[in-house]
Amino acid sequence: MNEFATILSYAAPVALAAIGETVVERSGVIHIGIEGGMLAGAFFAMLTTYATGSPWLGIGVGVVVGVLLALLSAVFCVTLLADQVVIGTAVNLLAIGLTRTLFALRFGASGQLLSVEKIPSMNGLDAVTIGTVILAVLVHLALTRTGWGLATRSAGEFPEATEAAGYSVAKLRYGALAFGGALAGLGGAYLSLGIAGSFADNMTAGRGFVAIAMVTFGRWKPVWALLASLLIGWVDSLQFTFQTKGWDAPFQLFVALPYLVALLVLAGVGRGANAPAALATPFRRSR
């Protein structure tokens, strides 16, 4: 049980971002910028907790920052019909530069090892990890059992029909991006306040990109995205165990292990995947 709680905890940042990104992609937008959303969430969550001593306030700020960055993307991707991959990349660069600059301004150019208050946990479980599991189920129900879910999914499949049915594709996509941004921010905040209790320059280290892969891995289904994140998280924890055994093999092999597994699974299930038909296609409303 404790073992599972540990894996869940280390996998939670990726899982949260992946659940959020699932909704975003279902609405027809691919948001590469969740890496930046996580990093900004991690930084501002740490900064808030450092200043106030309250990790919960930090988590809240992390979520808000994630939403704001996602809305910035939404302006360009949804309203201005810009290329989603380019905008996402720009948002990532913005987040890296912004957090690095502010980190240096606040804590000195040479950096500091920071130790901030972490969110409380019992037996390795805490509110965020439990919430992650519940959230995956709730998002699944919302996507499959509600009118909002149907409308959002249709915006990702055939947006013309969504508009014809009286919905605004733009509003649905804004909503999905904001939700995805909130979860990316939460994932980042949990990384700095739930796991590390610290912050380092660019500490998300590609977890946002892994989350995007987990969406595909999970076949655009939130519960499967969570399970995929757990599987990769478990393999990731194995690699350290392998390394401590002192086998005569380059450690890079072990570090690459989770990605190797992801690649193999994707190669197996990738064909005929139920990707949203209108994914990454800006929707121009006809007049």
Binding site: T6, Y10, P13, L72, V75, F76, L80, A82, I87, A90, L93, L94, A95, I96, G97, L98, R100, T101, F103, A104, L105, F107, G108, A109, S110, G111, Q112, L113, L114, S115, L191, I195, A196, G197, S198, F199, A200, D201, N202, M203, A205, D236, S237, F240, T241, Q243, T244, G246, F251, Q252, V255
Partner: protein, 331 residues
Amino acid sequence: MNQRAFLLSALAALVLIGCSAPAGKPSGEAPKEEPFKVALLTPGPVSDAGWSAMAYEGLMAIKDELGAEVNNQEAGGTQIKDAMRSYARQGYKLIFGHGFEYNEPGMEVGKDFPDTVFVSSSGGQTATNVGAFRFYLEQGFYLAGAMAGKMSKSGVVGMVGGDDVPSIRSTFKAFRAGVLAANPNAKVQEVFTGNGQDPAKAKQATEQMIAAGADFVIHQANAAAQGVFDACKEKGAYAFGANADQNANPSGAVIASAIIVGKPAFVALAKQVKEGTFKGGIALMGMDKGAIDFVVNPAMAAKVPADVTAYVDELRKQIVDGKLTVPKDEF
């Protein structure tokens, strides 16, 4: 569409602001007489609270004590030569590359700029205007290993590395030698996370190391080190600080630190260059020169048995006197 163009350019501006590093400003208006200019190239961000931060603090000491005009940037791989040439063209007199990988480019660029001195942290080649100084941090790691080997109850100790680079491998080798000298039956575990900026990974690696029996852990994880310390605190193991004196870390898990005293070495080097007495060559900066130290955390000194303190002090004396040569890799 006007609005769209405006917003796009606004984003472009934001990205530009975001990308600009907080480093010193490039030399703006040309002053009357040429000031003494020193540049630093680092393999990673200087905010790593470790390896690159140490060099940055050295650079700041050069600025404060010699009144030099300084600048620094991150440069790796193919960027190194470009960065060196651009500094040399701007009249920088000393260009310091913080790593062995700056030695070879220094040799090449140095031929074209005989009036500029190129110095790297370690590296084997030298010319009249190219040199290296190598911090013998292995000595500090050896003493940490000796202490861990004597004090470990489980007989298992661990090392957590961030990036896999030869300088880190070399310190780990010395730590291992120190442990085995103190306790030939000890087991030394080694884990690399592949990232010195990821405290979550470092923490996970350390937790697993402790679960496998380690009760002393040393790190070479730069900014990710907090993860190592926190894991040690939560699971009840001792940690060693590295590069800088990390004894005061709020985790309270750091029993001692193997440190580089970099500032004097940087200032002395810059002084040589400024006065024109630099002749090239490779300097080994060890405990005998006061550039390396091993400091026990005063708050935890009571936890170190007297015989262990005596043992470590004896080894330290042998190292300073040159009777004991700590193993190190050449790179």
